[in-house]
């Protein structure tokens, strides 16, 4: 409930506005109109720069990125996921939490806490003081939030993603090191092309994300090629809610992938 002091403030406020305020129109209306015109002009300008510097080809990028990339294709997943910029902070937050058990902190925990703090703000900060320099906690808190959001957004924007095409060039190396069979090699190529490495690392390549384990010695875990293929086809069935289902790759490709994973024992090749 509001206290006497607060009520008295609001009563004074209404009096002051009534006796000495200015009419909204034309006074504030003028400022608002100018600002709105600026906003619309900026939007139109961005649209123009985006369109006139980019090309009709998919992925033909201008100053502000391409008009569109290739059509969505669930089959070959050599594409590196990238959200719109205002989700970069979340995107990068996830890379900080590398262990499967802690991922939920990044995806749900921290955002939920941030939201609760936002909702609770007016109820935590009950002092009447409004000058920012006399609100040290609010000031420091705000600076920390701005700094961390800025850094996370920047890091998310510049994060190095290993490109699928680069990974494919590594397949020869993997064959050498793991002593892969013919089928294993085909599986390795699929692995490199299918975007697995935007979450999994393999023999030092790729980026660890969302708590996905390194797969260099997954074959040493004793799972068969069939078991691994079934896992990749539908990870949710095995309690993995993070990894997407790859059933769309088809029976045959899945078996190749399974073989590749089973042969990846991390023990060095050739035996």
């Amino acid at each position: 409930m509001a206290n006497e002091q607060e009520r008295a403030y609001f009563k004074r406020y209404k009096e002051d506005v009534e006796t000495r305020g200015k009419p909204f129109h034309p006074w504030a209306m003028f400022h608002d109109t100018v600002m709105s015109l600026v906003v619309v002009s900026v939007i139109v300008a961005l649209a123009c720069v985006w369109y006139f510097t980019s090309g009709e080809e998919a992925g033909e990028s201008g100053i502000l990125g391409p008009r569109y990339t290739e059509e969505a294709d669930p089959g070959t997943t050599s594409f590196i996921p990238r959200p719109d910029w205002y989700f970069f902070f979340l995107f990068y937050l996830l890379r900080i939490f590398k262990w499967p058990e802690s991922v939920v902190l990044g995806t749900v925990g921290i955002p939920t806490i941030a939201l609760i703090l936002l909702f609770a703000l007016p109820f935590m900060d009950r002092r009447r003081e409004r000058r920012i320099v006399r609100r040290p906690v609010a000031l420091v808190g705000a600076l920390l939030v701005i700094a961390s959001m800025g850094i996370l957004t920047y890091k998310g924007a510049t994060a190095e993603e290993s490109l699928a095409s680069e990974n494919v060039e590594l397949v020869d190396e993997w064959v050498q090191e793991q002593g892969l069979s013919e089928e294993g090699e085909q599986g390795a190529t699929l692995f490199a092309q299918s975007g697995c490495q935007s979450c999994h690392t393999y023999l030092g390549s790729g980026s660890a994300n969302l708590g996905a384990p390194d797969l260099s010695d997954i074959g040493a875990s004793g799972q068969s090629a069939e078991e691994l293929a079934a896992y990749v086809a539908n990870p949710a069935e095995f309690g993995n809610q993070v990894m997407p289902a790859y059933a769309s790759l088809g029976e045959e490709n899945l078996m190749l992938l399974g073989t590749f994973l089973a042969e990846s024992t991390g023990e060095g090749g050739g035996e």
């Binding site: 509001a2 403030y9 609001f10 004074r12 406020y13 002051d16 506005v17 000495r20 305020g21 200015k22 009419p23 909204f24 006074w27 504030a28 209306m29 400022h31 608002d32 100018v34 709105s36 600026v38 906003v39 139109v44 649209a47 123009c48 985006w50 369109y51 009709e56 998919a58 502000l64 008009r67 569109y68 990339t69 059509e71 969505a72 669930p74 594409f79 996921p81 990238r82 959200p83 719109d84 205002y86 989700f87 979340l90 939920v104 995806t107 749900v108 939201l115 936002l118 703000l121 007016p122 900060d125 009950r126 002092r127 009447r128 000058r131 609010a138 705000a142 809610q241 993070v242 059933a247």
Partner: protein, 262 residues
């Protein structure tokens, strides 16, 4: 000296005034608009206070361009990508509409954060405006969701794979996670159902919610008034100190020192 108006002029005024009076008598709308336009605001409102209406402008740009896009966009996996290409490359000014919608979304989010920042800076979330802050936070959440659902619609690789990751993130939530992600996907895989669900949320559910919340938000702004800048020498609702009352010419300033005026 009262100047008598010509007959013609009086007739002309009638043409304008009569319908307004007619509406006013039956609804009170004219009075409401007049109140909105000529209500008093604190004398020290400044450019910071324009951020809210600027956000509103960006939102209206999204509504208008969004409706036009919906005329030509086809929400099915087979047609979506083609329709986006047609809009961008073939339709007259289609590129402008799509470009404005796409970049307007970013501008909207930036303005939202700036507006929120100014409310924070001014301590304007304090009594009696707490509720309006809460409405604002809800608006912020819905705006981010609007961005997330809109991102899938072009149905290109960027759209598809960002959504794959986004939906998988939801799945990590305890208990509800798997249900949320199954619901968003509309099944096991991202496909036609996902696109319909995202389209419907992006076009109907979330904008509907936003329009409702923004209306309430602005109603409260009008009802409660906006806060004077905290650094103002003479803020609306400030303490009645001597300096202030003096400045307003209500009482004589008390002479300094112990004597009269020098």
């Amino acid at each position: 000296m009262a100047r008598t108006k010509s007959k013609r002029r009086r007739q002309l005024e009638q043409v304008v005034v009569y319908p307004l009076d007619w509406v006013e008598e039956r609804s009170g709308f004219v009075g409401a608009i007049r109140y909105f336009l000529f209500r008093k605001v604190p004398h020290d409102t400044n450019w910071f206070h324009t951020l809210g209406s600027a956000t509103l402008t960006a939102f209206i740009v999204q509504l208008v361009t969004g409706v036009i896009l919906a005329f030509y966009y086809k929400p099915s996996p087979n047609e979506a990508y083609d329709s986006i290409q047609v809009i961008t490359n073939d339709l007259t000014l289609g590129w402008l509409v799509r470009g404005m919608h796409r970049w307007g979304a970013s501008v909207f989010i930036i303005l939202l954060f700036l507006h929120m920042g100014r409310v924070f800076l001014f301590g304007a979330y304090k009594y009696p405006r707490e509720l309006n802050w809460l409405l604002g936070v809800l608006i912020l959440v819905l705006a981010m969701l609007e961005g997330f659902t809109g991102y899938l619609l072009p149905w290109d690789q960027t759209a598809y794979w960002a959504t794959v990751v986004g939906i998988n993130l939801n799945a990590t939530a305890p208990f509800a996670g798997p249900f949320i992600s199954d619901f968003l996907r509309g099944g096991q895989e991202i496909g036609a159902n996902t696109l319909s669900i995202f389209y419907s949320m992006h076009m109907l559910l979330i904008p509907g919610g936003l329009i409702g919340l923004i209306t309430l938000h602005i109603y409260l702004v009008i009802r409660l008034g906006v806060t004077s800048p905290p650094w103002s020498q003479d803020p609306a609702g400030g303490e009645r100190t001597e300096v202030v009352t003096a400045k307003r010419g209500l009482v004589e300033p008390r002479p300094r020192g112990n004597g009269g005026p020098p």
